[in-house]
Symmetry: C2
Subunit: 207 residues, 2 copies
DNA sequence: CAGCCCTGACTGACCGGTCAGTCTAGGCTC
DNA sequence: GAGCCTAGACTGACCGGTCAGTCAGGGCTG
């Protein structure tokens, strides 16, 4: 059992290394601008190995997308767990989402590359559902734990919250000084999300 | 002069035809998935001609982006002009923006392709500014003409409005049944934008 | 008006390079 | 030594960009 576990773990670990390398270079340079050879180089490995562990470039891209989605959600959940106050949960999430210029820029561009693939290649069909499950699930938890919203109301609030956050990311990305603008857009984003949730909760409690 | 004008007009017209064809196929299939030959085929023209009128594929892509941004803004302004009521301006814009599933899907995917290019290729540096000028300019006009907001307040509201709209588009794009979901997301988007503007105006008038 | 020339839009063949995916041979581990 | 890994040479397809040359039209000259 130990040996089997070691072998499979080692294979898993190797795969993770490859995914990490793939994410690193593909997020920065763009999926369509990144040859497998470049990923292999980054991982210090041959191109053949990538095709050995993943069957095709598309498969590698898909796995990388899933990997980074999982990883990121875990990181944010972690940040959430470390802050005990329920009331400030929204601000904690928004802060955790807006980690930093470079990290956000890479992630979001890669996320958009994923969307490009999802809408044009059958292989990536389920990606939208996966992203929705992970992202909306996370946001909804936060909303239900820190407001009075529930049911269809929290579902609607979740969608709007996601729209606001991703919309701000979109605009921030189009900015020349994305490094210095990061804080400004994060603040505006937090304000918009907070206002929207306060309004939603108010509306509900008014009836 | 007549002949000179005719000549230049004809060249312009031809260029427009090429841009229209380029948009048609590139928006649907994705810039990186579209060879010049495919655009040429769509335009009923040789590949060489594309490189004759535009110097490179990148240049063609950039011009197409600018063309569709201009065209779309004009269309929306038109819709706005045809509705006389000032009070409903927001709902008119949102409706005009959410024209229809196919049109929105093509435009937005192409818009995202533009963003991908902007953040990765120096040639597309100015694209962010151009989009900002056109889109935010349009939204801001509407906000200032239909609310009491002005100055920094309308600027902030504009950014948030754009974030909400584009954020909803992003989520809608990730949906399997984007055709049938179009109306639902449009409605939610309108609600979110209206609420946000009412809240902003209220906040201002409260001080 | 007839012949001429020039211009510039346009074509299609072609080239050089790139890249995903294949294959073979070798090595490491159990 | 059997089976999993890994390397890296190789291939075939594809694609952006070049270039020589065609063709139509529109002046200009005599």
């Amino acid at each position: 059992m130990t040996s089997a576990a070691t072998v499979s773990t080692s294979a898993e670990e190797r795969r993770s290394e490859l995914l990490r390398a793939a994410y690193l270079v593909m997020a920065r340079d763009g999926v369509h601008r990144t040859p497998l050879a470049r990923v292999a180089e980054e991982a210090g490995v041959s191109k053949g190995l990538l095709l050995y562990h993943f069957q095709s470039k598309d498969a590698l891209v898909l796995k990388t997308l899933e990997w980074v989605l999982d990883t990121t959600a875990s990181r944010i959940r972690q940040a959430l767990a470390e802050s005990s106050e329920r009331s400030a949960a929204i601000s904690v999430v928004v802060d955790a989402v807006w980690v930093g210029p470079d990290q956000n820029r890479d992630f979001f561009r890669f996320y958009l590359d994923g969307l490009e693939h999802q809408t044009r290649s059958p292989q990536f069909e389920e990606l939208g559902d996966l992203a929705r499950t992970i992202i909306n699930g996370l946001y909804r938890e936060v909303i239900e734990s820190s407001t009075t919203l529930s049911g269809a109301d929290s579902e609607a609030a979740t969608t709007t919250m996601r729209a606001i956050i991703e919309g701000f990311f979109l605009q921030w990305l189009q900015t020349h000084n994305w490094k210095t603008n990061h804080q400004r857009y994060r603040d505006r984003c937090l304000l918009a999300v907070s206002s929207m949730l306060a309004l939603s909760a108010g509306r509900i409690s008014d009836r």
